[in-house]
Structures are given as C-alpha cells and as structure tokens.
C-alpha cells in the first residue's frame, strides 16, 4: 500500500517520510498529479509560509489532483501548514487561495500571547476522534505555528488554546488534518500516524 507525500518544494518532508516508514508504511514523494491519483492515501505536510505553500502546489499543478482526490473519497492527512492549506484563505497571505476544502479563513494568533506557538501542548477533545484513538486525553503534542483555524471550524474534533481556541484535529469524511506535528510528537505522534495508516482501506 502506497502513501503519497506531497512534495511542494520545501518543508519537513524527510521527517514525515521517516515517521511513516518506521510504521511499515510504503511512501512515495509525489511531485506530479498522476502519483496522487495512484496512491492509496495522501499526506500533505507543510511548514513555512501559506503563500509559498499554495503557490508551490499550483506551480506543480497539484491543486486539481488534490481536489479530485478529496472528491473521490481518498484519505488525506494534512499536517500543520497542510491543515491550513485546506482552508479557503489565510491572514498570512491575503489574496492567496487555499485548497478551500473548508470555507473559513486561517487567522493569525493574537498578539497578547507568544507567537509562534512553539512547544508541547495538550488537546481538548470535542468529539470522538479516529486519529486520537488509544491516545490519553492529557497527552502532549508538538506545535510550531503562528496561524491557526478557529476551533469553531466545523469538523473540529479536538481543540487547543493559545490566545484563542483553535482547531488542533479536524476529521471530515476522508479528510483528516492536525495543526501539530505528529512526526515530532514522540510516541504519541507515532500512535496518531499509526491510526491514520491503519484507517486506509
């Protein structure tokens, strides 16, 4: 079973790849739409700038095949900026369009808290979650971001608070997305990735 990891030209692809392989998953770096069409599941990792990310996807013609994968029901996991890219837009890059799987805008963390939100934080569970199955309620996950989707975004199954409540885990049909970095979250993160890999038919 092959999982395509979207390679948009920057980011933390090797660590995501390493984490998935340690779980026994077969992975492939996807730079073309056909690879996304063939894969059993897609991981969309990302760090850096929203604008650079969505432009990177567009330049590689990866936006239409990602949308097609979403519509075909293929499992997709977005990580960090990969979660944010699933939204329509971000305050980080006004005027740039995201994948728009969700219609909301990603917001900047407020100025009264330290930003970037860097470090290990806990989640507040809102709904039953497949990704968090078998993980203790008080477990810590590693975050590193300055922007976030509001926890009021539909399909938010777990929230985290930093300045405002934001979406830490989203699950919606075949879409899954996390604001933290499971590949950097120790054994807890490995368990979350395992849950994703095992959910792939």
């Amino acid at each position: 079973m092959k999982i395509a990891i979207v390679d948009y030209g920057a980011g933390n692809l090797p660590s995501v790849e390493r984490a998935l392989r340690k779980l026994g998953a077969e992975t492939e770096r996807a730079v073309a739409g056909e690879q996304l069409a063939c894969a059993k599941a897609i991981v969309l990792p990302g760090v850096g700038h929203f604008g650079a990310f969505v432009n990177g996807l567009r330049q590689r013609n990866l936006t239409p095949p990602l949308r097609a994968a979403f519509e075909s029901g293929k499992p997709i996991l977005g990580i960090c900026l990969g979660l944010q890219a699933m939204f329509a837009s971000s305050e980080e890059a006004p005027g740039e369009s995201g994948l728009a799987f969700f219609p909301e805008e990603v917001r900047a963390l407020p100025t009264h808290v330290k930003s970037p939100h860097i470090g290990w934080n806990q989640l507040r569970r809102l709904h039953a979650s497949k990704l968090l199955r078998g993980i203790a309620d008080d477990a810590y996950f590693y975050f590193a971001h300055s922007y976030a989707a509001l926890a009021s975004a539909p399909y938010t199954v777990a929230a985290c608070d930093h300045g405002f409540p934001f979406a830490a885990v989203i699950e919606c049909h075949n879409l899954a997305a996390v604001q933290f970095h499971p590949e950097k979250s120790g054994e807890t993160g490995a368990q979350m990735l395992r849950n994703f890999v095992e959910s792939v038919p």
């Binding site: 920057a10 650079a52 330290k114 970037p116 934080n121 507040r124 590193a144 950097k184 490995a190």
Partner: protein
C-alpha cells in the same frame, strides 16, 4: 491544557564527536552524537539542539552528516546551527533533517539574514542565538563563540531580531556556561519579558532547583543544558518529575 516547559539537551559537535567546553574554552570528548540523541529521545527530552562548534569550512560536510544521523534517531524536534552564514547554509541544515536553524554571528553582521530565513522557512524555523556577558545592569552580546564583543545591548538586539523574523531566542550566559552555578534568571526574565517569542535559557545548569528557578523566576519557556545530561548527573525523566511535583508544567513521558 498548558504549554509545557521544554527540557532541551544540547550536543556541541566537533569533527563528528560530542564535546564539552568550559566557559567556551577547553574541550572534552563526550561520545557519539547519534547514540546520545537516541538516549535523550527515549528519556523524554522535548527537543534537541546540535551545534557545530568547529564551524570550519572542511567540517561542514561532516556536520551535515551528523545532523542526518541524529535526525534518524529522533521523533522530537531538532535545532541545528553553528557557522550558518547564508540562506543556503540554512537550507542545507534543514534539508539534512533539522526542523529549525540557529544563527548568531552572521545575524549580528547582517540582520537581514533573519528576515530572509523567516521568509523562506517560516519564523518557527528561525532561532536567534545570543551569547551574552553581564555588563553592569545589562548584558552585551558576543559573537564568534564568545570571542568578539559587539557593543550591543542584548534586550535591544533580541527585540530587533524578533521584529526581523526570529521565532525563538536561545539565550546563553557566557558568565555561567560550564560553571554549574545556575542559570542567570535575571537575564532570562529580562529578555523573556521583552520579546513576544519563546526564550530558551542556557548556561550554568547544575541542579534541579536551577531548572525550577529559571522557569518560575526566570520566566523561560525552555531550558537547555549539556554536560549534566551527558555525564548522567541527572536523568531527564527525574528532572521532569521533580518539576511536575513543584507545579511546573512539563511533558511527562509515558
């Protein structure tokens, strides 16, 4: 729900080996970077820092190889630096497997480097390292591994660096480094209350009380230490247990 205070072991690397200096001078071999990294990953470290202290031109390839070997052992974040001069240096370090790059001397010489790195890789990947010596009521940054005075003020420099794009400050007290006399809590409190980004305290860690003090009095977001962990004077797990018992939020390994 609380953001945990981070405990960060640091590997100072020279020619592919972990070494430990005392007050920035004199070196002692402390072991293989990948095996130490693996141990800290298992023991519950929240992050790891790897610094190339040779920073010589011919040592660069060896250092990138060290980053690759260390990253292979980790499922926690990795910060790497030492001798980073350009965006391409930064890219090489991140491509080798680091999540963040730390810069010091080159950022003092050309602060624009911070903006360039942040634009390319995001502020969360840019750590400004400031090595300071106390000067009366303030602290002066030094570059080139503590050799060159800058004439700057640490708090002003930290604020400018954040404005330019640094996402974290790694703050080392040269006066305390390797002396085992405790963190300079006054210093970390000053900088942590000046900048809107996390501050990592470094230099002088010796006892569990020192860590407790730097998180409470010193208001540090993270604390970094090298020798006390390398020599197994303290295990990270027992340190975290101590801190948790005193009400300091930490991530306990399970």
């Amino acid at each position: 729900m609380t953001l945990a205070h981070r405990i960060i072991p640091c590997l100072d690397v020279d020619a592919g080996r972990v070494v430990k200096g005392i007050e920035f001078q004199g070196l002692r071999d402390m072991g293989d970077p990948a095996s130490l990294a693996g141990r800290y990953n298992t023991e519950g470290a929240d992050e790891l820092v790897v610094l190339d202290i040779s920073a010589s031109h011919q040592g660069r390839a060896t250092f990138l190889d060290t980053i690759r070997r260390v990253a292979d052992e980790l499922n926690i974040p990795l910060t790497a630096g030492g001798g980073i001069r350009t965006m391409e240096d930064g890219r090489a370090v991140l491509r080798a497997g680091a999540d963040k790059v730390t810069v010091n001397t080159a950022a003092v010489a050309r602060p624009q480097l911070l903006s360039e790195l942040a634009q390319q890789f995001g502020a969360q990947a840019v750590v400004l390292s400031i090595d300071v010596k106390r000067k009366g009521d303030s602290w002066e940054p030094y570059t080139r591994g503590g050799r060159n005075q800058t004439g700057m003020d640490a708090a002003e420099w930290a604020a400018e660096a954040v404005w330019r794009g640094a996402g974290e400050i790694l703050l080392t007290s040269i006066d305390r480094d390797g002396t085992c006399s405790g963190f300079d809590c006054e210093l970390t409190r000053k900088i942590a209350s000046t900048v809107p980004v996390p501050v990592i305290a470094s230099g002088g860690a010796n006892t569990f009380e020192d860590f407790c003090a730097v998180f409470t009095e010193g208001r540090a977001d993270a604390a970094l230490a090298a020798s006390i962990f390398h020599t197994q004077t303290h295990s990270i797990a027992s340190l975290k247990k101590y801190l948790a018992e005193r009400g300091v939020a930490v991530r306990l390994s399970r």
